[in-house]
Each structure stands twice: as structure tokens, then as C-alpha cells.
């Protein structure tokens, strides 16, 4: 899985990430997603050649299944934001 952690010895079998590893993964993910936000891209992978550095860090710190999961969740959260904004508009309109 490629965990870059200093306090782990040689691993013969894949081990689950501990708090440090998880934290690192989340941080690189957040950096990458911030970059995407700035570029206005929701779906990871559609940004072309920008955010390359962040993307590499991200994909090096997290398991593939996690990357897929986070990317998918980003798309869903974005769609939900739109829906929430629309319902909020309706609510505001109804209040008047």
C-alpha cells in the first residue's frame, strides 16, 4: 500500500493505517481538494495538468480504495450542496 511512515519497520503483510497515517492521508487529500476547488473542478482527474504535485502526494499517502471513496464523496457532496442551496432558496422564498 506504500505507507510513508518513519516509525514502522519492514512490513511483510499490509497493515492498517494508524492515526498518523490517517492524518497524513487526510491532510494531503485536503490540500489536493483545495487545489481542485481553486480550479473549480469537482471530479478528481478532470483537472488536467494542474495540481500535479498535490495529486501525487495524495495518491502516495492513501490507499486506492480510500482515494476512490474520497473522490466519490466529493462529487456527491458537491451535488448535495446544489440541492441544499436550491431548497434553501425555496424556503426563503416561501417565508416571504
Amino acid at each position: 500500500m506504500g505507507w510513508f511512515s518513519s516509525n514502522k519497520n519492514e512490513k511483510t503483510e499490509p497493515t492498517a493505517p494508524n492515526r498518523e497515517n490517517r492524518q497524513k492521508c487526510w491532510e494531503t487529500r485536503d490540500a489536493y481538494f483545495e487545489c481542485l476547488d481553486k480550479a473549480g473542478v469537482v471530479k478528481a482527474g478532470q483537472e488536467g495538468s494542474i495540481c500535479r504535485g498535490e495529486k501525487q502526494e495524495y495518491e502516495g499517502s492513501c490507499a486506492k480504495s480510500w482515494i476512490e471513496y474520497f473522490n466519490q464523496r466529493r462529487i456527491i457532496a458537491d451535488a448535495q450542496k446544489e440541492r441544499l442551496a436550491r431548497t434553501n432558496e425555496q424556503f426563503q422564498g416561501a417565508k416571504k
Binding site: M1, P14, T15, A16, N18, C25, A63, S65, Y69, F70
Partner: protein
Amino acid sequence: MTRPGLLQNAKRFTSIQTQSRALQSSAQRLIYRRARPAVTHGNQVQPTAFGKVTKRFASQLPERNSIGAFTPTAAALFVVAGIGLAFYFRNEKTRLEEEREKERSAKSYGRPQVGGPFSLTTHGNKSFTQDDLLGKWSLVYFGFTNCPDICPAEMDKMTEVINSAQKYHGDIFLPVFISVDPARDSTSQISQYLEDFHSQFVGLVGDYATTKAVCKAYRVYFSTPPNADPNGDYLVDHSIFIYLMDPEGKFVDAFGQVVTSADAQAKINGYIEEWRKDHGGSRL
């Protein structure tokens, strides 16, 4: 007419009235002696020794100020009864409402069938069954060590809840982590995983069949297939709840993701109080 004439007429009138009343009462007396049911009030039927007296008095009233059977006494009784009933009903209603609320919140009324027998292995490679939950308030969470963020967040929440609850109640809690990923979560893996959370955490795992059984007992959904690859990189979809079990091993409540640590603590305190009341101030 002159004044004295007026007075004479008045006297005559009153005397006529008294005479007619006397006649009427004697007539009534006759009627009652023949034991005929009274018609004047509608309620009272057979004359008794008392009855005759009251009827004689009461029967005079209809002449003066009654509307049909509605005499002043009846009116007074009606109002008094009405007020009395109103108060009674109000009290009863509040009393019943309180009872119903108590029943609804009481665990003995409609407790969901969550929990049950199971046999798993701890992260220390010891056997663990549902009996080992007894005697403490257990918080049970189903997850897997390769979980991206939800399981760690929930486990952190549990750690926080237990830390603060222990300060208040003492060492009466048992946090439990049950793995839904038996293919990858070995006991040593779980042991390592638990190092990041509360020191008293007990990690449990079993083979696929026992995992399926314990999930069924706790109504937990999990998506791991029976033939999962132990070297695989996959995520397990599963129900996300923290199950609170009382010292008798019975299910109390399930805290979802939206329940904050503070909310959970407040609820747990409430449940402990209730349980102690039901169990005569037991220490637990």
C-alpha cells in the same frame, strides 16, 4: 283602590296562596302514601321516610322557581358536579399523560430485539461471549481497521464519551469494537488499531460465519463477502451506530453519527439514572 284596600287584597292573595300550597302539600302526601313514584324531579323514585320529608319540601319549589325539572338544588348540584368532574378529569389526564410518557421512555416497553449471544476472539486472543458484557455499561461499535474516516471518528467519539462518563460515574463502562472485516482484521491488527483509542477498548473478531451471526444479532448490515481477499484493498459498507447495552446485557439505545459526544453523554447519564432507579439504587 285605596291603600288599605291594597293591603287587604295582598293579605287575601297571600292567604289564598298559603291555602293552595297547604292543599297541594296534603295532596302530595296522599300521593306518596299510595307509594306512587314522584314525577316532579325525574331522579328520585320511591319515597322513603326521609324521602317524604325532602319531597314535601322540594315539591313546593317547582311552583316558584323551576323550569321543568331543573330546580335550583338540581342546578346547584349540577354545577358542583360539573366543577368536580372538570377538576377530576384534568388531574386524571395529566396523570395518564405522565404515565404514558414514562412507559414510552421505559425500556421495558417495546425494547428492540438488538443484541444476543455471540462467541468471538479478543485482540488479546482470548475468548469473548455476550456474558462478558454483563456487569458493565457496554458501548459496542462495528467497524474495520481499514476504515478511511468514519470509524476513527466514531471511535474517537466513544473514547471521549467514556472518558468523561468515567469521571462522573466511575469505571463502569466497556468499549467494544467488533470487526466486520474478518478477512483482513487479524487480532494483532486490531490490537494495533486500538492503540489509538481508549485504553480499555476490547477488540473482537471471528470467522466469517460468527461475524455474520453477531451482525445479525445486532441488526448490523455489512458488505464484506465471504471470500474476501486478505490482501485486497477494499472498503466495507456497514451500519454506523454505537450500541449502548446495560449491565444486564440488554439493548438500551443506538447512537448514530449525528449524535454528538455531548448528546451521547447526556443520554447515557439519563439511562444510568433510570436503570439505577429501577434496580433499587444499585451501584452500577
